[in-house]
Symmetry: C2
Subunit: 219 residues, 2 copies
Amino acid sequence: MDVNKVRNTVIFNGMTDGEIEAALKGLKASEKKYEKGEAIFLAGDTTSRMGLVLSGSVTIESNDVWGNRMILSHVEEGGFFAETYGLLGDEIMLVDVIANEDSEILFLTVKNLTSKVSDEGTWVIKAVSNLLSISAQKNLMLSGRSFHTSPKTIRDRVMSYLNSLYIKQKSREIVIPFDRQQLADYLNVERTALSKELGKMRDDGLISFKKNRFTIEET
Amino acid sequence: MDVNKVRNTVIFNGMTDGEIEAALKGLKASEKKYEKGEAIFLAGDTTSRMGLVLSGSVTIESNDVWGNRMILSHVEEGGFFAETYGLLGDEIMLVDVIANEDSEILFLTVKNLTSKVSDEGTWVIKAVSNLLSISAQKNLMLSGRSFHTSPKTIRDRVMSYLNSLYIKQKSREIVIPFDRQQLADYLNVERTALSKELGKMRDDGLISFKKNRFTIEET
DNA sequence: GAAAGTACGTGGTTATTACCACCAAATGAA
DNA sequence: TTCATTTGGTGGTAATAACCACGTACTTTC
């Protein structure tokens, strides 16, 4: 790995070249080329590594059980992705990361970066790494919610939410941690309107449910 | 400060009692009592300190120019608040933090925690602290957006958005960084519907605007 | 400066949702 | 059990937003 390629990325900010070299080693930096359209991560994966786009670009997208595709964001050269998942290590990804063109990706193993540090370091380091864990966790919650509230119709929000649980629980039988009012609040819709839409979705053969147990029906 | 009071909070996770004492000193821990209803932070403030609720509870709320109040969240004993603002240090708060009952708050100076660390530490520490900055920044963006998209009507979203810029820019004349399409996307509404609502808001005397310059009218 | 393109706004229509009043089933306490 | 409370669902109506077609003004380009 050439230090020049990463010197200007945010993660290596404030490091001397020597430190960057040590960091690349310590983070088990490994480079890989992807062809346009190739999957870098798939929903359902877990990862201990974050990605840094050395050249090319990638898209973050969502493909749900019902076959709907949605592009969520682009990451250009110098940008990174999956840093939250990498840091937390065992969180299941809800999105796919796809090479938008022929691209070179540098993977950095950031899992345990916080815990590794915690054993040796001073209180400062421990505090910073605790705060990083907290922040990453909060991040995940915020982006999840914003993801489920961005579809404009109640049905699409429900499908987005159920799909994410489907990916996490790897089963078409899903237990949700909310009652109706809480689900409505989470999806930012009105409770009775949610009830109605759930009924319609059942009539349309998309789902069935009883209380907080939902089943995604086979099409 | 008694170490026992904070030993179980997430921030001091993994620290020995000795380290916690050092941390409390290093973070310039200071305790303060608030009476029910008293303001701990006000929108428009900046802070270099985060808050830890030692006893009692606080609410995070939003009070806009037009006099609407909205409660955003509660923080109970052992929980903390303003950690993102504290870490970033110069971000203007868009919400108020109010004591929900008689409460004891511990303030911890976390600004420069990352930059302080960066001067001395190894690459690990620098990487962790860079990641913390990135994460905090992302957090701020995500929570801002989710804040502006949670109102159910276009008008309320626009008011929420303009109000936040009003607080930041401290002026009723506001320049927004978006064109109409971008603003619509940001607020998660349809462009022409946004245009219509902006027109109605002008008719109703709430705002005036030309291109991306908006003025909040005096009531 | 003509032509093409972009940005913004308006009218009209339809789809969707919020809101209200209400009911039924499930839960829980006395 | 019985009564009260909580939780989930339905019907109907009004409000709201999405969607489409289109016009106008302002920009950019050659």
